[in-house]
């Protein structure tokens, strides 16, 4: 074989082996996820990656309008409150699943019943079982959903947790039926799914128009799991990837300086805070049972600097455990500004002039936790950081062993303070204040559908939580996105990116 023929054969082999690139010419957007998608069925995973995918492939009866905070009909053309625990939904005409089958009221009833059934073991069932009573077909376009008691978050729960499935999808009660082969109603349908290699989606041309969710603009979306940020960076630079999310702040900033990459920041619904053992669950005589001590800790932490230097992006300081714009997020609460001298004075008044030592159990953002500990040390309080896995923290919390613990709550990406109730309700091991008034207000707010009354109850509760310094709120997370400059992308207000709204420039 001559040298020339060897070179020709090598060139041919190289050219056939090179992968296809993601670009406008192929009308294919490649999205890099840091974690793998382990199932196509959003009912069986609540990971952020799966929420993004489910938004593309599944629909619900209603969808929240992020601008107004109102719930608008999605698969439902309209809905009517029959009474304070019953809603009638009227389906749009001409709806179809990806396989061409029509969407019927029987499918809606089936979806509710399946999710609520304990034996179905969905990851969403626990959220609706507490209130869901029945789903009944009234006529061939109307379905009636009834709650056991008046429940204000019915629409929220329906919009977030009740993904529509075709009747009989889980044949023989098999919860894994849609793990690999998915049939939904969303603006994109699944073409292929190779666990580990990713998911290929194609725009669903039969998607209904006039709904709140945008029909896809880009023909194909390929989701690729790439665990290493260095590799994602290289793929963005070489044109192998168009979009990624959850990017570390420094990486996102560096990428944003490159001419072929845009960096966009947006808020996340997730907030970071510490729960302080005010009720003395771990130690009835512990220093954190003293209100003055808790207030001192709140004054001792320099939230502004933490947000500016360690959170970055669109992160912001919080004084209450909720997001601005969220229903019930009354921000008119006591704010503990950074004042170490005031903190020392409060500690002295509480009988701890030389400070004290306590264990702070954390599981996220170690550098931030170290910064908090350093701030506390400045006023004489030694916070022994016990940085563990979340599961270890949960175990200790369930056993009532924690003096103080970090939490990062995502509100299931829903704009309602009710989604964080389990830090305030009786019987929850996340509640370390055991304040009967706060418990009562939150309970009452979850049992009334009168929005004004709910808002007033949340306001009272959050105000008292701040006054008593039951928590130590720190910051709201920032979300970093990077994308190639040839695609449009707007950071979402609720932290849930919607790839169906992206288009080529």
């Amino acid at each position: 074989m001559s040298i020339k023929s060897i070179l020709l054969a090598s060139a041919l082999a190289f050219s056939t082996a090179l992968p296809a690139f993601a670009d406008k010419a192929n009308d294919t957007l490649v999205a890099a996820f840091n974690k793998e998608v382990q199932t196509l069925d959003g009912l069986y995973s609540t990971s952020r990656e799966n929420l993004i995918l489910s938004y593309l492939t599944s629909d619900q009866l209603v969808e929240i309008n992020l601008e107004t905070g109102e719930y608008e009909g999605a698969l439902a053309e309209s809905y009517t409150w029959v009474d304070d625990r019953t809603i009638d939904f009227t389906l749009r005409e001409g709806l179809t699943f990806h396989d061409g089958a029509p969407v019927t009221v029987e499918d809606i009833v089936y979806s509710f019943d399946w999710i609520a059934d304990e034996n179905s073991k969905t990851r969403r069932g626990a959220f609706i079982r507490g209130w869901f009573d029945s789903a009944v077909a009234v006529d061939d376009r109307t379905v009636r959903i009834t709650a056991k008691n008046p429940y204000p978050l019915m629409l929220r729960d329906i919009a977030v947790f009740v993904l529509t499935r075709k009747a009989g999808s889980y044949a023989d009660g098999n919860p894994d039926a849609l793990t690999q082969n998915f049939n939904g109603t969303g603006p994109y349908k699944v073409v292929s799914f190779d666990m580990g290699a990713g998911v290929t989606l194609e725009r669903f041309d039969g998607y209904y128009s006039g709904g709140p969710k945008a029909a896809g603009s880009i023909e194909n979306i390929v989701v690729r799991p790439i665990p290493d940020w260095g590799t994602v960076t290289a793929e963005l630079l070489s044109g192998g990837v168009n979009w990624s999310f959850n990017v570390p702040d420094d990486t996102a900033k560096d990428l944003g300086n490159l001419p072929m990459v845009d960096h966009t920041t947006g808020v996340s619904t997730r907030v970071s805070f510490f729960v302080l053992d005010a009720a003395g669950v771990s130690d009835p005589e512990g220093p954190l049972t003293n209100k003055l001590v808790r207030q001192a800790l709140n004054h001792a932490v320099n939230r502004e600097e933490i947000v500016e230097f360690l959170v970055g992006g669109s992160g912001r300081v919080i004084h209450s455990t909720c997001n601005l714009g969220m229903f019930g997020c009354d921000v008119d609460v006591t704010e503990y500004d950074y004042d170490p001298e005031r903190a020392k004075a409060l500690l002295a008044e509480a009988g701890y002039p030389d400070g004290f030592e306590f264990e702070l159990t954390t599981y996220r953002e170690r550098p931030i936790m170290e910064a908090v500990a350093a701030d506390l040390a400045e006023v004489g309080v030694t916070a022994k950081i016990n940085h563990v896995k979340l599961s270890a923290l949960s175990k200790s919390r369930a056993e009532g062993q924690l003096e103080a613990f970090q939490n990062a709550w995502g509100f299931y990406a829903t704009p309602d303070v009710g989604a964080i109730s389990n830090y305030y309700l009786e019987g929850s091991n996340r509640n370390l204040n055991h304040d009967a008034e706060v418990q009562g207000w939150f309970k009452a707010a979850l049992e009334t559908v009168d929005q004004d009354e709910r808002a007033a109850l949340y306001a009272k509760a959050l105000k008292k939580v701040a006054d008593e310094a039951y928590l130590l709120p720190i910051f709201q997370y920032s979300q970093n996105y990077v994308h190639s400059v040839d695609v449009t992308f707007d950071a979402p207000m609720d932290g849930l990116p919607r790839l169906n709204e992206m288009s080529w420039k």
Partner: protein, 305 residues
């Protein structure tokens, strides 16, 4: 010899049992497995439901011996995270890791032997210095860093190879090079030392005196003898290549057993992690036994010891 083999096998079984017990205890005692599976924002009800669903509410020893029982009967259990039988996952992902390991081993052997022989031809010469410097650098550089440098150089600046994925043979070139290079120094030094010793021996001098050509002396007489200790090192390297695939597969987004382990750990998928640790341990144990047997076969003194 038979007694020696049986003794090694018994030792291997004891190690396998210990590894599986340690893995099981670490995964189940260090944290609440139900919370791990349920995730960050899970409600207490969801956590309790998972505890019952996956049997975490049963005593630890019952679960351990149940797992051992399943293992003996060839039932690897089902993955919580991937919703598939663990056996199917292993079978599905193994080809990528085996391809990577085979490619990396080829890189190790070819580079290690070539540089080792070249270095031995003229000890302390410039080629020897170069080979030893290369070996030192290859040993010092971390895999993930070297991988990223190669990606930037040959995937972005000069886009010859794809950056990540495993759909074509081209995708394996960079990861095989990265994984293979890290073991080159070991083979290089052994080859160099062995060759220098053999090339200075009487029978080589005799061969030279008899007028054999240098190439004949080098490959037919010297290298064959110098290779013997390297064989057992290479056997063990196969195990290291499989184990080392965790980082390399993550950097290059290869869909193999290493990345399965990485994702399963993050996803708190106890059955899959348990089985992967057991599998990797078993590979090491088998290769160690093979290495011992090989050495004993080559050197009868070891059998007596």
């Amino acid at each position: 010899m038979l007694k020696f083999i049986l003794k090694r096998l018994a030792l291997g079984l004891a190690v396998a049992f210990t590894v599986s017990l340690a893995t099981f205890l670490m995964l189940n005692l260090a944290a609440d497995p139900a919370s791990m599976v349920a995730g960050e924002d899970a409600t207490q009800e969801a956590i309790e439901q998972i505890r019952v669903q996956y049997g975490f509410d049963r005593p630890l020893y019952v679960r351990f011996f149940e797992w051992i029982g399943q293992l003996v009967t060839g039932d690897f259990g089902d993955s919580y995270y991937w919703k598939q039988p663990v056996f199917d996952l292993l079978i599905d992902r193994a080809p990528v890791t085996l391809t990577l390991a085979a490619g990396a081993l080829t890189v190790t052997v070819v580079l290690g032997l070539t540089l080792g022989v070249l270095a031995a031809l003229k000890p302390n010469g410039w080629l020897d210095r170069f080979a030893l410097s290369f070996g030192t650098a290859a040993q010092a550089v971390p895999n993930f860093w070297f991988g990223l440098i190669l990606i930037i150089l040959l995937g972005v600046t000069f886009p010859i190879f794809p950056v990540s994925g495993d759909s074509t043979w081209m995708h394996f070139v960079l990861p095989c090079f990265v994984l293979g290079t890290s073991a080159v120094p070991q083979v290089l030094r052994l080859t160099r030392t062995g060759m220098i010793e053999v090339l200075g021996s009487d029978y080589i001098r005799t061969a030279r005196a008899k007028g054999f050509r240098p190439r004949q002396i080098l490959f037919r007489h010297a290298l064959r003898n110098a290779l013997l200790p390297i064989v057992s090192v290479i056997t063990i390297q196969i195990g290291y290549k499989l184990g080392g695939s965790v980082i390399t597969e993550s950097v290059f987004a290869l869909n193999g057993l290493g990345r399965l382990a990485y994702e399963s750990i993050l996803g708190a998928d106890i059955p899959t992690v348990q089985m992967l640790v057991f599998f990797f341990a078993l590979v090491f144990i088998i290769l160690s036994i093979l290495g011992d047997i090989l050495n004993a076969w080559l050197d009868p003194r070891m059998r007596v010891e």
